[in-house]
């Protein structure tokens, strides 16, 4: 809990730094604060996990592991932000503060122990993001993204809140433990209100994670928002949303699996295909990543389909793998776009000749997204497939495998552009911050892929 308080205070401090025009202090202070948050989490690991503040939050291993992942990813994103918003913007402090606020919300979503807290967490996370998506005030696409995100977000929050209300009506409590007791004590006599609540929560959370058929906001928002904000959304926010999704369903709704599983199965399959097939026809690298993020949401839904003790580990590894690769992909995209002004695949032509190491990093990231062995993405997919196969959902895995093969087409397009389509171009300048982020992300991807034993068995 001290971590959450630290983070909130940090965000306010950063706002004040902005007031005093201490621009150069923003990044170091934010990083320092995030690192101390990390330390606080790590210290908490050994302690006894008890619900805090009248059962509002519970920092068990699950929550801490996901929180640490979110904080680490935020650090990477902040490192990439050095100089990103400098040109023509005076709201840099707000940018840092909003990211930190959003992160605070994300941590609450991973650690909630009360449905009210889930709702508040999602709102803190999202409201900050509505602003962030539109932080480029004069950019039309950015404005559109912000408005779309806000409207659809508010809409989905309605579903979520209605679902929470129905659950409360049936069980008489917001507390996860009590709701669980209500379900477990008499699964046959669960009120119809409760079933309605589950469905509404399913819809609301599917909106938040960008799963089909509630995904329509995602491509436009991811495409329109500034690249760094998209990175933050696709990594930290998605990880937190999935952590919350799984936590709720694993904790409370497992006995009623027969009821919600068919709906979830359909959603999963549709998400996989829509994300993949639409990604196939994109000519913009950024938009391709946006659609591929939908298909990855489909793979991550596997963990909820196969809900069980090993699900949390699978989601953790998958989210880490996906996020690390995304950070590399978007980081490279920022550099390429800065140099060429375009985010199309053609903008990558001939990159390998001039920037061999940058190209190698992006290649590893793409291989990880495609799920090739020795990268983290493979271990993630492997665990997802294992989980679902343990439930004998062989057909679902076969469909997923088809999608994985389709994925090769669009992930390899950028590799093909970089290596096999020669073009005379200038060398991209990669500053120290970017180098650090790329090296860290790639090493972590390979480490997770080659020797994942250090992270398995953690949660």
């Amino acid at each position: 809990m001290s971590a959450i308080i630290t983070l909130s205070l940090l965000a306010i401090l950063v706002l004040y730094l902005g007031l005093f025009k201490a621009r150069n202090a923003l990044l170091p202070v934010s990083l320092l604060g995030l690192v101390s948050t990390l330390v606080l989490f790590v210290i908490q690991w050994e302690g006894q996990a008890v619900p805090l503040y009248s059962g509002m939050v519970l920092f068990d291993h699950y929550a801490i592991a996901f929180s640490v992942l979110c904080v680490l990813l935020t650090i990477l994103v902040l490192l990439l932000s050095k100089n990103y918003f400098d040109a023509g913007s005076t709201h840099i402090a707000e940018y840092y503060a909003l990211i930190l606020f959003s992160l605070t919300g994300a941590l609450l979503v991973t650690s909630f122990h009360n449905l009210a807290m889930l709702f508040i967490g999602i709102e803190i996370m999202s409201v900050a993001l509505y602003i962030l998506a539109g932080i480029r005030k004069k950019d039309f696409a950015s404005n559109e993204a912000a408005l779309k995100y806000f409207l659809m977000g508010a809409f989905s929050t309605g579903f979520l809140l209605f679902g929470v209300a129905l659950l409360y009506g049936a069980s008489g409590s917001f507390d996860l433990a009590e709701i669980k007791d209500y379900v477990v004590s008499n699964p046959q006599a669960v009120s119809p209100l409760f079933y309605g609540g589950i469905l509404l929560l399913l819809v609301g959370l599917a909106f938040k994670v960008g799963a089909a058929p509630f995904h329509f906001w995602a491509p436009d928002v991811y495409d329109g928002a500034p690249i760094l904000i998209t990175t933050f959304m696709i990594t930290v926010v998605k990880t937190a949303a999935f952590a919350g999704f799984l936590r709720l369903f694993y904790f409370c709704f497992v006995p009623l699996q027969d009821f919600w599983m068919p709906a979830l199965l359909v959603m999963t399959v549709v998400t996989l295909f829509i994300g993949n097939i639409t990604a196939l026809v994109q000519s913009s690298f950024k938009r391709m990543l946006a659609y591929s993020s939908i298909s990855h949401a489909g793979y991550m839904l596997f963990a909820i389909v196969a809900v069980g003790p090993s699900s949390s580990e699978a989601v953790l590894i998958y989210a880490a793998a996906y996020s690390l690769a995304s950070v590399v992909a978007f980081g490279t995209l920022i550099l390429v776009k800065r140099a060429t002004g375009s985010d199309h695949f053609e903008a990558f032509n001939g990159l390998a000749k001039k920037n061999p190491y940058l190209s190698l990093a992006l290649t590893v990231a793409m291989l990880s997204l495609a799920g090739i062995p020795l990268t983290a993405g493979f271990i993630g997919k492997f665990m997802m497939f294992s989980g679902v196969l343990a439930d004998y959902q062989i057909l679902l895995v076969v469909l997923a495998v088809l999608n994985a093969a389709i994925g090769i087409f669009y992930y390899f397009r950028v590799i093909v552009a970089m290596y096999f389509r020669p073009l005379d171009r200038d060398q991209l300048v990669v500053n120290g911050y970017y180098k650090t982020v790329l090296v860290v992300a790639i090493l972590a991807t390979l480490l997770l892929g080659i020797y994942p034993a250090w992270i398995t068995g953690l949660v």
Binding site: E313, L367, I372, P373, L374, F378, F382, M383, F385, S386, L389, A390, I394, V397, V398, V401, L402, A404, A405, I408, F409, F412, V416, Y419, F420, Y451, P452, A453, T456, G457
Partner: protein
Amino acid sequence: MDNLFILLLLPVLGAIALAFVKQAKAARQLALLVSLVSLGLTIPFLSGFVPDDSIQFEQQFAWIPALGIHFHIGIDGISLPLVLLTNGLVPLIILSAFSYDYKGGFYALVLFMQAGLLLVFTALDAFAFYVGWEIALIPIYFICALWGGENRIRVNLKFFIYTFLGSLLMLIAIIYLHLQVPSGDYELTSFYQLALDSSTQRWIFWAFFLAFAIKMPIFPFHTWQPDTYTEAPTAGTMLLAGIMLKMGVYGLIRWLIPVAPLGFAAYGHLALVLCIIGVVYGSIIAFKQQDVKRLVAYSSIAHVGLIGAGIFAWNVQGVQGAMIQMVNHGISVVGLFFVLDIVTRRLGTREMSDMGGIAKAAPALAILFLVIVMGAVGLPLTNGFVGEFLLLMGIYQYGIWYSVFGGLTLILGAVYLLRMYQKVMLGDANAKTSDFADVRGTEWLVLAIIAVLVIGIGIYPKPLLHISEAAVTELIGKVSLINN
């Protein structure tokens, strides 16, 4: 020095070092050195190997213990010939690339692939096998797509997706089998002991079969092969045809049939028929080719079809024939592709009609090429004869008509390969071929080594056959026991 970890790790370390070498000359020398050391390190395994049915030189460590995954490797009579083949051919392939100005990256990919191949041939854990299977694919994709011909981007993407899809199906089967194992591991021996019901084994059979059939390739999963072989740079073609397709053949013997014996009982016949169709089909199309590289690519379909048929006949002669023919085919095909590379590079064309009369200007090449062609045709006293004889004998025991059609490889092979030899080497010289420079230096060395191997194995194949005999006999006994 008989530590398998070292054998697997050396090419990886070599690859990492080579990735930073920018000069072509230094790169090729370092690459050759690493591959020769690998070959040297193989010798203790060969000399220390006891030719019985046991698994030797085992190594393992707990890789991902939480998921029951162990990095478990070892060598038995079935894997040793393939390890030898891999480590023996890689130096030759590297030597054959000396005429090109490849930088460190190229050789790094070759060595990285070597590590993947070795892992496939030594893995005793299904997860490790799968990882090796995939990491052999990535380098060859880049080798073919970076240094290949005109259509390389489209052709190689097709190749990659085709094989990737096949291997993912295999991954499903592997995970499924793992979930049935009581001890919760991925060990080969645990998979062998599973006695799953017939309907389960049937789909397991197909999941594995598709992965292996695409890799080999068996008709009708071969459509990626001619284009990929033709568009690839010669070193890539050699890796693909010489070593990589043996991954599929090895998979049939090691994984497919023993793991799903009831599936094999149900569909083995169909698989054998597909293989025989491949023999006839590959031979006929090879006969129609004008492009020499394409011709050898199709001939490879025919030869591999016969090897596959020998395995699906599942008797000692057939499988032993397959074992030795895998080695022979690797040697011959590398030799053939290298000769064609020399010829096409000097003449600037792959069309047979533009060639002819080279023998006069290049007598050394003519003799060496003749020996290699004879080996590929399967003339007595060459290596090809031993293998094809055993294969046909094995297939004959399965059914006489299959061996009749399978035997067509010998006849048709002689027809199209000798026709190729005639058109390329003999006849009247044209303007280009009349001053054809003969082979010398590394070119001569590579071809001479291959020719010696072709004749050496042809005259005295016993040591090679002896390596795998006990292991093959035991495996066949085990599986037919289940089937009865």
